[in-house]
Symmetry: C2
Subunit: 371 residues, 2 copies
């Protein structure tokens, strides 16, 4: 097992240079997700992503304060996977993944005890926080001692400026964008990838956030890149993957988000998409955690995104992903009809309906781009 | 003299909390600017900024390869300040400022010898490169030994997300934006500040790049901030300075620049300007260092900037700063007339004409905002 010093940052896919991945997060098959004190639908976003897309690799969720006994009850995902109060209750765990992504990226002090226990047991710990575990002297020293690997997926040293490259003709790029954070951009990208792959299409999800990286095994933690290199790091990621017929680039934030618009635009220009899937949560009217900031309408957002994206490369919104978690099934049907009529685009509640409608829109775009 | 470990990063202006500045770059009065092998108008951008706005504090420019004997001849600024081949030729230097800002921010190997000599002499070295001097073990050890301070103005640890704050009513915010890099955004901001101050107006330049920080003594090196915190770092900088009647926030890049658009938008939303000064170089048709990327027209840019800025706060372009270095005086007059007629805005070649026209536009905006 390697020491923490050998961990440089998350790997991108194998690029033209054939550089090996410094690690592969998909190799863990017995994962404990740590959500200590945070086992709720809004706080345990990373845990929920892992449960949905890597549920077979998860053996337990660890939260000594949680009153539910299964994650199905606690989070609505993961069915009978147990919620445990201690690592001692888990049979042969291989890795602990920290299952939260709080704004600011600090490590909750209540999580330290469980992390220390994992390290003492020689188990690898994977974190998506801005507070790097490998920078913590106490944890690092313990890991060096036990052989545990501390993997900070947001640890990255990108130093290339974007060059406005021409990606391979025939590689169709689809990017998820949104009206806000936490509306389902990663979820939609992954579900569309799954559906395209099910149909035998060569489609590749490109992760840009910590949860996506934990699911896909590699990617670029875009919000941790030094700002000068945001556009360039994504350009490089796409370039290393443009041998695929379709790439689905995970979006972040919103082009008008007070805190994250810079990240959103750098990502949008760096990946130069042919098409956008606009994701939104019906019924949300103000910005998450910023109640004094009203959200823009979908029509306004469609116009802004298409205009600013097309400054780099011709681009259009090809479909709308509705997050209908606040709606009944009947309300969701009405909402889809309303939005489809207003924007003249396919609308899909991916969670309820599956991603077929959007996968079709992606294939339609592909025909157009490649014609 | 303090050790390098005490240097955390560049100070912002004294904020509401009254935190002291960790250093003040304006205290050096006998500066040697290092441009080794780079004493040309396009490469020595930082040197030229220092010569124009802190010329009285500069005693020499150091370049052993330069064939000119004065910086006036070599760079068209700084008049009789000598170009020297060695630090030995300079009487009582207090600090060495590295006078270049290359894309990517690497330290040219040819500069190491002169830096080492400065350190050996106990002279402080100020750098705006991404390659931090303080991370270089050899240079750090030498500095610890001699008492020289290594100040990396791009070294910053910002960790606040923007909160879409309401700045003080009565603080008029003007931001310079451009059609490309290196067209005069810092220059225009500083000249307008000077003119407003000359008229007795309380105006403050807020630096966002390494050269601006070296000139003003403090600021935020925005392209070095982790992308998640770009908007927030600028929001904090403005918040700490909104006791001024006018703040002039230095712009970076361009909203459609392939490499830097993320930085540009984060900055634009973070400072929430009331007005923009759109800076451009007449005759430049393609993006600097990216000849395959044509530049947008001023009319298009005005529309994009106003639209995306106004998503945060009502904002308009109030004037145009023409960089006329490729034009004769007659051509510049014609260009100003043409652009003023096309856009219906005041146009000013700040270098030739002074900044009065733009200062007037800023004061006019102030009346409107405060009415």
């Amino acid at each position: 097992m390697s020491t923490t010093n050998e961990i440089q940052g998350p790997a991108t896919d194998l690029g033209p240079t054939g550089d090996p991945k410094p690690y592969d997060l998909t190799r863990y098959r017995r994962i404990v997700i740590l959500t200590e004190g945070h086992t709720t639908v809004t706080k345990a976003k990373t845990a929920i992503g892992l449960l949905r897309f890597r549920g077979d690799d998860v053996v337990a969720v660890l939260d000594s304060e949680c009153t539910y006994s299964t994650v199905g009850e606690a989070l609505g995902h993961g069915n009978d996977i147990p919620v445990v109060a201690s690592l001692d209750e888990v049979d042969s765990p291989e890795a602990m993944f920290i299952g939260i992504s709080p704004a600011g990226g600090r490590l909750p002090p209540a999580m330290r005890a469980a992390i220390s226990q994992a390290i003492a047991m020689g188990i690898d710990v994977v974190s998506g926080l801005h507070d790097f575990l490998s920078n913590d002297k106490t944890l690092s020293a313990a890991a060096a001692n036990s052989g545990s690997q501390l993997i900070d997926v947001r640890h990255i040293d990108e130093r290339d400026n974007a060059k406005h490259v021409q990606f391979r003709q025939g590689c169709v790029r689809v990017h998820t964008v949104g009206h806000d954070c936490s509306v389902g951009k990663m979820f939609t990208s992954l579900e569309v990838q799954r559906e395209l792959q099910r149909q035998g299409v060569d489609a590749k999800f490109l992760a840009t956030g910590q949860t996506g990286i934990m699911i896909a095994g590699s990617g670029i933690p875009i919000d941790s890149v030094v700002s000068d290199f945001v556009n360039g790091s994504i350009e490089n990621l796409v370039l290393a993957n443009d041998h695929h017929d379709y790439v689905l680039i995970e979006g972040q934030g919103s082009i008008v988000h007070p805190a994250y618009s810079g990240v959103t635009l750098g990502l949008l220009h760096g990946c130069a998409p042919d098409g956008l899937i606009l994701c939104y949560e019906a019924g949300r009217t103000t910005t998450k955690s910023l109640d004094h900031v009203p959200l823009k309408s979908l029509a306004e957002l469609k116009e802004i995104y298409e205009w600013i994206a097309s400054a780099r490369h011709p681009c259009q919104v090809i479909g709308i992903a509705l997050n209908g978690r606040r709606l009944s099934s009947e309300e969701a049907e009405l909402e889809k009809e309303r939005v489809a009529a207003e924007l003249g685009l396919p609308v899909c509640d991916v969670y309820r309906d599956g991603p077929q409608v959007l996968a079709d829109a992606v294939l339609e775009l592909g025909k157009k781009v490649n014609s």
